[in-house]
């Protein structure tokens, strides 16, 4: 076993250890055991960083990959199926290494931050335990080398998300939100499971590499539509987990959880797991599936951005912003900008975690006030928070010199390239929505910054009857102090400030790339090259015909596929070798050097990559303009007040309400699915009450009649016989009991008499 694999197993299991210790012993440990969680996560991060350093920095090889697996369940030779084994395994490549470092770093920082934010909570220890199991599950997703184990960990993160959203389960809103999140995720996960089963039914394996290899070898027997369906069904898991349209409704409500949880789970890691998963299965997605994904992502990005404009709750704005950014990532995957989407995943994780933790600091300082309308003027009181929050905001808005600019720009360039390569038409909707959302992002973030940090304090403006709105059920802060003036606001302690500073620092361009305008020159996009598809493309099929498409793909793969790396891998598998290091001797490294994408053999991917490269400068210009436009708009409306926002809102009241009420999605679901379920339930209930119960009652009545007749028989005939027997024995017993003297010896005499009588009988028999 490779030493990195051993380390990664330790990384995986350490947070589980933290969970076990804390869930059982937190009340017996000093400080409720928070140092255990923080310490273990610190160690986990150190080990992950070692893996990151070894894999990404030291080897610096885009096709680096080690895998290790073991047979988990061996069903033997199942009739009708053949040999059936379920394997578990770990794969470490560049993506895994980066994700490991990112997840453990953010998790560690959130643990640290929570020691301040959650102080005094009655379930303080349990909070850290839940964070532990979440981190364990998330690392499981990252490390999994097969669909089955990723599904297990997928459900585990769903569970930990459920537990943490409902952490303040005394509040009805929190309990409702956790149920909503769980149910919405169920819808997506069902699809994902069906997708896994489609692939399993074909290949009898869950392992990514084996599935891809089989696909490339053309072993998929069903029609192309089934493969598309499998891709879209797998994507449904992402739709649920990453809160994509139309299952996005749970994520904003999930903000009922504690703010560190929002930062860790609902902004940085778990929701990104959906994107990560789609990236893992990227190569098996057909062109049709990719189109669906691209449109879903674009719609999500746009819709969430429009909603975010009008929200007043500081966390809800960020939540919709998260949905919007996740839409960007999915859009990026859909248009084939694989590296850019994952790049955005990582950069977004850092700056959005920073934003959430910053908003947590604000909420903490404001004594659990979440409504931005009653904030303002915090810049002077919380300079550290202000600085880091602003830096992260700029990154989110995508201003040059930030990480967000590079990654978002790369996605948008990819979108333009995609639209050009697909030949225009409706495909231009995707980059258009992307750019428009970028402008909206800049606008609502500008609005938020201004409302929170600038101007005068508006705490006193808050209506008296509104003061329960937005309160966390937080034990240490009474309800009496919320009318305190803004001078009661103070900067947070070091353990909450340090994570903000670290995360903000990771939002600067220099971490990722030497060129602030081009992320493709950075190490990240070089280390995560876009993999070659294994299912062929539409143009490829058009040329070669359906029958030859699979041969075509197999041929292409055999030539050069860096990420799939089948040659050594499959041979080793046949020989039963469990782990190996693959360094493909491939000429692609040269291709990465000059900042261009890899040279694809697939004509469609090649075209998109080429167009995206060409569109790069255009994207920079357009997105910069859009961002500046958005920020200017925010300045005009909120700072210089050329336009009164309230009056504008009244002027376009239908549009305002449409956005304010989140496009009425909750109401639509209420009216369709929920009402529909209730109607169906009522119909079934009527059927049950009238038809099923009628049958049951009829049977009951019949049984009663029969029982009545039987009862008569029983009463007079059977009971008569029984009573007569009892009477007979009672009478005879009364006679016989006279013989019962109670003296044992009388019995002996009687016994001997009987023996004598028998003797006499015996001898009479003997004589005659």
């Amino acid at each position: 076993m490779h030493s990195l694999i051993q380390i990664s197993i330790a990384v995986l299991l350490l947070p589980l250890l933290s969970f076990v210790i804390l869930i059982f012993f937190n009340k017996r440990l000093p400080r409720r055991g928070d140092f255990v969680g923080v310490g273990i996560l610190g160690a986990t991060f150190a080990l992950s960083f070692y893996i990151f350093w070894s894999v990404v920095v030291q080897s610096y090889d885009p096709s680096f990959r080690i895998a290790w697996d073991f047979t988990w369940i061996d069903f033997g030779n199942v009739p009708g199926v053949g040999p059936l084994q379920i394997k578990m395994g770990i794969v470490i490549d560049n993506l895994t290494a980066i994700m490991l470092a990112m997840v453990t770093l953010i998790s560690f920082l959130v643990h640290l931050y929570s020691t301040g934010y959650m102080a005094g909570d009655p379930r303080y220890g349990r909070f850290f335990a839940y964070l532990g199991i979440f981190t364990f599950s998330m690392l499981g997703i990252v490390l999994s080398d097969n669909l089955f184990s990723i599904y297990i960990f997928w459900e585990l993160v769903g569970l930990s998300s459920y537990l943490l959203i409902g952490f303040y389960f005394e509040k009805d809103t929190a309990a409702d939100a956790q149920k909503k999140a769980f149910l919405a995720n169920r819808v997506g996960d069902i699809g994902m499971w069906l997708g896994i089963l489609i692939l399993y039914s074909q290949f009898h394996t869950f392992n990514y590499q084996e599935i891809f290899q089989n696909l490339a070898d053309g072993k998929f027997d069903m029609s192309e539509a089934w493969l598309t369906a499998a891709g879209i069904l797998l994507f449904m898991g992402c739709v649920g987990k990453s809160a994509q349209f139309p299952l996005h409704v749970w994520l904003p409500d999930a903000m009922e959880g504690p703010t560190p949880v929002s930062a860790l789970i609902h902004a940085a890691t778990m929701v990104a797991a959906g994107v990560y998963f789609v990236a893992r299965i990227f190569v098996l997605l057909t062109v049709d599936a990719l189109h669906v994904i691209a449109f879903i992502g674009a719609i999500t990005a746009f819709m969430a951005a429009t909603i975010a404009i009008t929200q007043n709750d500081i966390k809800r704005v960020l939540a919709y912003s998260t949905v919007s950014q996740l839409g960007y990532m999915v859009l990026g995957l859909g248009v084939g900008a694989y590296s850019a989407a994952l790049f955005h995943l990582v950069t977004h994780a850092f700056f959005k975690a920073c934003l959430f933790l910053g908003s947590g600091a604000i909420i903490h300082a404001m004594h659990h006030e979440q409504d931005m309308r009653w904030m303002g003027g915090l810049r002077k009181h919380m300079p550290w928070t202000f600085a880091t929050f602003t830096l992260a905001t700029l990154a989110l808005a995508g201003l040059p010199l930030t990480s967000g600019f590079m990654s978002k720009d790369a996605i948008l360039a990819g979108a333009i390239g995609f639209a050009n390569a697909e030949g225009g038409g409706i495909y231009y909707i995707i980059p258009f929505l992307g750019f428009f959302s970028a402008m909206l992002t800049a606008f609502y973030m500008g609005r938020q910054i201004w409302l929170v940090f600038f101007g005068e304090s508006r705490t006193h403006l808050k209506p008296a009857d509104d003061h329960h709105h937005g309160h966390d059920a937080h034990g240490s802060h009474g309800h009496d102090d919320h009318h305190e003036e803004v001078h009661g606001v103070h900067e947070v302690a070091w353990n909450m400030r340090a994570p903000l500073v670290i995360l903000a620092a990771l939002s600067i361009f220099a971490v990722y790339s030497p060129d602030p305008l081009d992320g493709a020159k950075g190490w990240f996009m070089k280390m995560i090259p876009t993999p070659e598809t294994v299912v062929g493309s539409a143009s490829g099929k058009a040329e070669h015909g359906t029958s030859s498409a699979n041969h075509n793909a197999a041929h292409l793969l055999a030539e050069a596929v860096p990420a799939v790396g089948h040659s050594a891998e499959t041979d080793a598998h046949h020989e039963g070798v469990a782990s190996e290091v693959i360094h493909e001797e491939d000429s692609h490294a040269a291709g990465h050097g000059d900042g261009h994408g890899p040279e694809f053999s697939d004509p469609r991917q090649a075209a998109i990559a080429h167009e995206a490269h060409d569109a790069h400068k255009l994207a920079i210009v357009i997105s910069s303009v859009m961002v500046v436009l958005g920020i200017s708009l925010a300045l005009i409306v909120y700072v210089f007040r050329f336009v009164d926002p309230d009056r504008t809102a009244r002027a376009i009241r239908p549009l305002y309400l449409f956005s304010f009420n989140k496009w009425y999605w909750d109401e639509i679901y209420q009216a369709t699915f929920i009402k529909g379920s209730i109607v169906i339930s009522k119909v079934l209930s009527w059927f049950d009450a009238n038809v099923v119960d009628g049958i049951v009652n009829g049977a009951g009545a019949l049984t009663r009649r029969v029982g009545f007749a039987t009862g008569g028989f029983d009463k007079y005939v059977v009971d008569g016989a029984v009573n007569f027997t009892a009477f007979f024995f009672n009478t005879s017993g009364a006679v016989l009991k006279k013989l019962q003297t109670g003296k044992v010896q009388t019995y002996v005499v009687l016994l001997m008499l009987a023996v004598i009588v028998y003797f006499i009988y015996y001898f009479t028999q003997l004589i005659y």
Partner: protein, 105 residues
């Protein structure tokens, strides 16, 4: 006189029958529980004599083994029975079995 001088099976059987009769008489008539136990021991001894007599004149070992186990059984029986008698004495302050007629009704 031959029947008196030629000691055979019937002599032993006669002794055994007499012992059995005395034992039975004790069990039937005596009120003292201890004496009843003695009667039981006489009956067992009568059985032993019978077994050994038949064994002797049949030439087999079965009777010998059986009487051995009967002695074991008698020992156990005597111990338990005396324990019961002592318990009865504790309870009724008497070993008169005719007074112990609680089994009547």
């Amino acid at each position: 006189m031959e029947i008196l001088t030629n000691i055979g099976l019937n002599h032993y059987l006669t002794i055994s029958a007499l012992l059995f009769g005395f034992g039975l008489f004790a069990v039937m008539t005596r009120k003292n529980a201890i004496v009843i136990l003695m009667g039981v021991e006489l009956i067992l001894n009568a059985a032993n004599i019978n077994f050994l007599a038949f064994s002797k004149f049949n030439g087999g070992m079965e009777g010998v083994m059986f009487s051995l186990f009967i002695i074991v059984l008698a020992a156990a029986e005597a111990a338990i029975a005396l324990a019961i008698v002592i318990n009865i004495f504790k309870l009724f302050k008497s070993v008169d079995v005719s007074a112990i007629d609680t089994m009547k009704e």
